[in-house]
């Protein structure tokens, strides 16, 4: 349940708006990166290496967030990094939601042994040390965009399955569903017309939180060296690269982490707000 909302009487939607604003801001940055980034994020300039952010001594307006060990502009790298991090988050949400919702609908609608199996699997999954399994799979079969997305979806589908299952179970007892069954509406059509629309709002709520979780998890995986590597690194990869220079250039680690924190905060605020609006009882 939302805790923050009550803090500002009469402006209950303010924090949700802030959250949505943050996400929109990051998304715009990702889309418009080539236009707004002051430099090419991969352009090496050894003469400018390790410059601190502009508010510190030795920093300059030319590189507002400083430069890294190869003289690449941190601001440009953070802006471009949003592309990978957001893409991973969005893709993981779509794949996870598709798998989880389907399983949740089937288990919730048909009940019986299908449902029992689901609850056992959910229990097993929760007791799995997810991050360990993830680095195990990725370090064995190799990282990259889609492997990371699939592993994150593997960790997230349970959340959708649980919520959707609960919703479907309550929808199924409604009179209009009974009525539809009794006049012989085919099961698939029934699922599509009455059950699916009801599951949409809980799915959106879970998606909002799990997008935030996916961005955090991607960062953790990249940090452990099994994430999405490439010319334009994700925030997690930047964090990992920066770690070696923690003693001399802390901003290499601080900036991408800050970017992650802000984006995740946006997702969490949105999730809180949507949860409040749609259904105060799902979630915790």
């Amino acid at each position: 349940m939302s805790v923050l909302r009550r803090l500002i009487p009469g402006k209950r939607d303010m924090l949700g708006t802030i959250g949505a604003g943050i996400l929109l801001f990051v998304a715009l940055g990702a889309v418009l990166a080539p236009m707004i980034a002051p430099y090419d994020p991969t352009a090496i300039s050894l003469l400018d290496r390790m410059q601190p952010p502009m508010w510190l001594e030795g920093g300059s307006l030319a590189h507002p967030l400083g430069t890294d060990n190869l003289g690449r502009d941190m601001l440009s790298r953070v802006i471009y990094g949003s592309r990978i991090s957001l893409a991973v988050g969005v893709a993981a949400v779509i794949v996870g939601a598709a798998i989880g919702s389907t399983i949740g609908i089937v288990a919730g609608y048909f009940g019986g042994w299908v449902d029992s199996i689901l609850s056992v699997v959910i229990n097993a999954q929760l007791s799995f040390p997810f991050i360990l399994l993830a680095i195990f799979i990725l370090s064995t079969f190799g990282g990259g965009f889609w492997p990371v997305v699939l592993v994150l979806a593997l960790g997230a589908w349970v959340n959708y399955a649980r919520v959707v299952r609960g919703t479907v179970m309550s929808v199924r007892t409604q009179d209009y569903v009974h009525a539809a069954i009794s006049v012989g509406v085919p099961t698939l059509r029934l699922l599509r017309t009455t059950v699916l629309p009801n599951t949409l709002s809980p799915i959106i709520v879970v998606a909002s939180f799990s997008m935030a979780q996916a961005i955090l998890a991607e960062a953790a995986l990249s940090f452990l060296g099994v994430g999405v590597d490439g010319a334009n690194p994700s925030w997690g990869v930047m964090l990992n690269d920066g770690r070696a220079y923690l003693q001399t250039a802390w901003w290499l680690t601080a900036m991408p982490g800050l970017a992650i924190a802000i984006t995740v905060l946006g997702g969490n605020l949105c999730g809180d707000w949507l949860q409040d609006r749609f259904n105060p009882r799902i979630g915790n």
Binding site: S127, L132, S139, F223, L239
Partner: protein
């Protein structure tokens, strides 16, 4: 009570079987362990012999059954990379993990429970706003990043604490805070929400209208009930920590189970990874079982049927 226990135990066993089987299958998909162990110039026959010696030529299900049979006797297999028994390696690292887990856990409870109650009682105050905002931000920032920033500030900049490693009290401060901050952020929010819900409950209103003292209402009627969701959440947090704080231990070079596992993954030390996964899952399942039992003590309404 008895039936409940049996059902929970059955579920725990099934869960552990699924977890161990999944790890086992994933491990077998990752390649032939003999290729990793045998010297590069080993002949085909030698490799075949080794395979037979290790029992790797048996059907998968037979291998799995014997693994589980041994695991029940405390034998989790042998790490070829480290040349040591997996259970010995885990037991050797366990004290460090437990030390960190409990320090971080207690620290987070000490922060979260009083703070959560305080801001619930003073809701909409400045303190409430500050604490909830900080908790929200703490939940959103990557935990390992907070750890790195703590190192950058306290160890590199102020030079008052060691960067990483294991030793005296000074070494545990930063990793424990890193763990505690994340867990405290979650627990504070939950404690506040739970306390607010209880304070609005009918029985608390009744207690108030009977003219009971505020203190009695608060501690006898509200606190115990508000603690119920906290116990569940805290149990989950502790269970995760005992399984190994993988990234925190890695950052701080803390010689615990978590770092052991992360290194094992990189070295493709499959028996060791499998052992740690099974260990972590067991810790998780057992602690959750204990939490369920704890409910009976806190909440007499739970009949466990």
């Amino acid at each position: 009570m008895f039936r409940f226990l049996i059902r929970r135990l059955a579920m725990a066993v099934i869960v552990l079987l699924i977890v161990s089987f999944t790890t086992f299958i994933v491990g077998h998909m990752t390649g032939d362990p003999v290729e990793l162990i045998a010297p590069e110039n080993a002949t085909r026959e030698a490799k075949e012999q080794l395979r037979e010696y290790l029992g790797l030529n048996r059907p998968l299900l037979v291998q799995y059954t014997s693994y589980i049979g041994n695991a029940l006797q405390g034998d989790l297999g042998f790490s070829f990379v480290q040349q040591a028994a997996v259970s010995d390696l885990i037991m050797e690292r366990l004290p460090a993990t437990l030390k960190l887990a409990f320090t971080g856990f207690i620290l987070s409870l000490v922060i979260a429970v009083p703070l959560g109650i305080f801001i619930a009682l003073n809701r909409n105050s400045v303190w409430d706003f500050l604490a909830t905002s900080v908790a929200m931000i703490g939940q959103s920032a990557p935990n390992f990043w907070i750890g790195l920033m703590l190192i950058a500030f306290f160890a590199v900049h102020l030079k008052i604490l060691p960067v990483s490693g294991y030793g005296g009290v000074s070494y545990i401060i930063l990793p424990a805070i890193t763990i505690a901050l994340q867990s405290a952020a979650r627990l504070t929010r939950l404690m506040r929400a739970s306390m607010l819900e209880v304070l609005n409950a009918d029985y608390v209103r009744t207690a108030r209208s009977k003219g009971l003292r505020q203190r009695t209402v608060l501690w006898v009627h509200s606190f115990r009930n508000a603690m119920i969701p906290i116990v569940t959440m805290a149990g989950l947090e502790l269970a995760e920590l005992i399984g190994g704080a993988f990234i925190t231990e890695t950052i701080f070079a803390w010689p615990g189970v978590g770092r052991l596992a992360v290194n094992a993954v990189y070295q493709r030390d499959f028996p060791l990874v499998q052992g740690v996964v099974l260990f972590a899952a067991t810790a998780f399942v057992v602690i959750n079982l204990l939490v369920d039992l704890l409910y009976v003590l806190i909440d007499p309404r739970v009949k466990l049927s």
